[in-house]
Chain length 214, copies 2
DNA sequence: GTCTATATCTGGATAGAC
DNA sequence: GTCTATCCAGATATAGAC
């Protein structure tokens, strides 16, 4: 059973995500959040103590999905399959969590003043892990000598842009919102740039080769 | 000769760029802008009427450089040279106009509420021109069939990220700021992804071929 | 737990002296 | 043209009735 408490907190969180994504932290009014949630303003303060607290909860909600997107890097795998899965996950986050994604982007853009040192460290550690993973592939001759840092920056940017700069994308494409095929095209394009751009072998290892690895 | 007026306007504009880039429009206090410019607050209002007006001037200052970056698309040229020049220009803007770049990014992220219809139209027209230019190259068999819209989104994102998400880049690389070689590596990486990713021929046409084109 | 009414404070903007 | 002192709108946050 869902209590009124849980329901209202969820309504407020959802409304807050959208407002913060749309206007930014400072420009967002708690009264607008309350109105969008269909609740009186003091309820916002009752459930979440302060505007900043509420903001931090929205921000926190995106950390776990972001870390989860790096899962392909956390198990053994060949460059093609890991990078493809990673790009797909990142695009999925942009599509399915567009508001929290934007809040996160805005937060990073302003120097991450609300991220806790622990969150910063978690994200940074994962990023460094991914980068060293790419460096290893380069050392093993599995891909071209591309600067792994800059490669990661390009992948992040290219995938995040579908959430962060949706207005620009709508304006240029002339579409109000992108459909399944548009997101598939995005994944295809970014994947192609990365795979071909890094000279990565796309052929699947044969059964015998797979067995011989064991 | 530079009048006091010009000097003060310049000081205020520079301070405003930094503050708006750092905190965003709503979170920026005019008193902080004045303080950073080394002038009393009413001077800000004397020279620029309102906070919003000042913000619009900062925003406007980046439009022309952004349009100018598309110059390679506005004259005949082969894919490799045009795209290379474009990527280099975009990275240069991120490096040389980091504050205005960030202000622009933030503006776009929130749906461009302060951009005039004319500015929107100018930017959009240029974007569409660039995209149709890429489509023509594809039709002519000069590059692979990559969706031109998504290719442009990736190039914008990958180049803008050096201004917008400088905090992330500093955190991950462990460097306070990037040097010449870092920016060269960025250009090299993005260029490689685009050129190789789109199967673009990099060989320079021979003198005879160049003549035969005339 | 919920909401009306209100306190309090921040920050954009300006009047008016110099 | 410049700046001190001040006004006041608007937003966060809460007291206290229900």
């Amino acid at each position: 059973m869902t209590s009124i408490r849980e329901r209202n907190q969820e309504l407020i969180l959802r409304a807050a995500s959208e407002e913060f994504a749309d206007k930014g932290f400072a420009a967002t009014k708690t009264s607008d959040i309350a109105a969008k949630a269909g609740l009186p303003k003091p309820n916002v303060y009752y459930y979440f103590k302060s505007k900043e607290n509420l903001y931090r909860e929205v921000l926190e909600s995106i950390i776990e999905p972001l870390l989860a997107a790096s899962a392909p890097f956390n198990q053994p795998g060949r460059p093609a399959e890991v990078l493809k899965a990673y790009i797909r996950s990142k695009i999925r986050i942009s599509r399915e969590l567009p508001f929290a994604s934007k809040v996160f982007a805005s937060e990073i853009m302003h120097g991450a003043p609300h991220l806790s040192p622990e969150q910063t460290e978690q994200l940074n550690a994962q990023a460094k892990h991914n980068i060293s993973c790419i460096q290893r592939w380069i050392d093993q001759g599995l891909m071209a000598k591309v600067d792994p840092h800059h490669l990661m920056f390009s992948i992040w940017a290219a995938t995040q842009t579908y959430a962060d700069f949706d207005w620009q994308i709508s304006t240029v494409t002339g579409k109000g919102s992108l459909d399944d095929e548009d997101y598939e095209a995005a994944v295809r394009t970014i994947t192609r740039l990365v795979i071909k751009g890094c000279d990565i072998d796309e052929t699947v290892p044969s059964a015998s080769e797979q067995v011989s690895n064991a």
